[in-house]
Point group: C2
Chain length 130, copies 2
């Protein structure tokens, strides 16, 4: 039984914003492909390495908007994070059989880059994909 | 006669991506409030100063997704620009009486910042809102 793409996208979103990233990953396909600001991320393991550290620095989230159709969903949200007070993001997700197969994510890396430079240490968020 | 919020959002989007920014501005309310990565922009004149220069460096766009309801629309698109090859953005728009009254825009300033530093000149895009 699977619901709409938006159901899956929101279940994924609620899980990671609720600090249950393991549960969030149950909605992600093994062969997920994610286009992020720093480039393409392929496969669930690499996606976990990308999103997991970010979710751990999130201290609050607000869902701004969420829409979808049979196969895709589009979300915008704001996050409060340890290094950056307001870090909004948007995600376009493609869902097949209840699993997220494609993600396009847009967010502003600049304040994370500034926070990293100010702190002098590597960020939890791998903004350059390295 | 006004259509849905999505109709207005797409008319605005088609106009600016088609390099008719004056026409795009006809869909924007005089008292528009826009939350952009660099901060809040208030009023149509300030909004024109923010978006206008960006639209002039855009050489191509692809609409990734567009959804809406009675009052709001959510768009994600990719742009090719002179300084940055792929600069995707997302916009959440609130529409009243056929005019855009609120915009929340998300995009990655980092590659524009890098291009500006590499060129040694001020960018057409005022990424820091100054």
């Amino acid at each position: 039984m699977t619901g709409t793409a938006l159901d899956t996208a929101l279940a994924y979103h609620r899980a990671w914003t609720g600090h249950d990233f393991d549960r969030a990953m149950t909605y992600v396909a093994e062969d997920v492909v994610c286009d992020a600001p720093a480039g393409r991320i392929e496969g669930a393991a690499a996606f976990r390495d990308f999103m997991g550290p970010f979710t751990r620095i999130v201290v609050g989230t607000t869902l701004i908007a969420a829409f979808g159709d049979d196969e895709t969903a589009l979300l915008m949200y704001d996050t409060r994070t340890a290094p950056v007070a307001s870090a909004p993001g948007a995600e376009h997700l493609t869902v097949r059989d209840g699993r997220i197969t494609r993600v396009r994510i847009v967010f502003d890396r600049l304040p994370f880059d500034a926070a990293r430079k100010a702190s002098g240490v590597d960020p939890a968020v791998k903004i350059n994909g390295k």
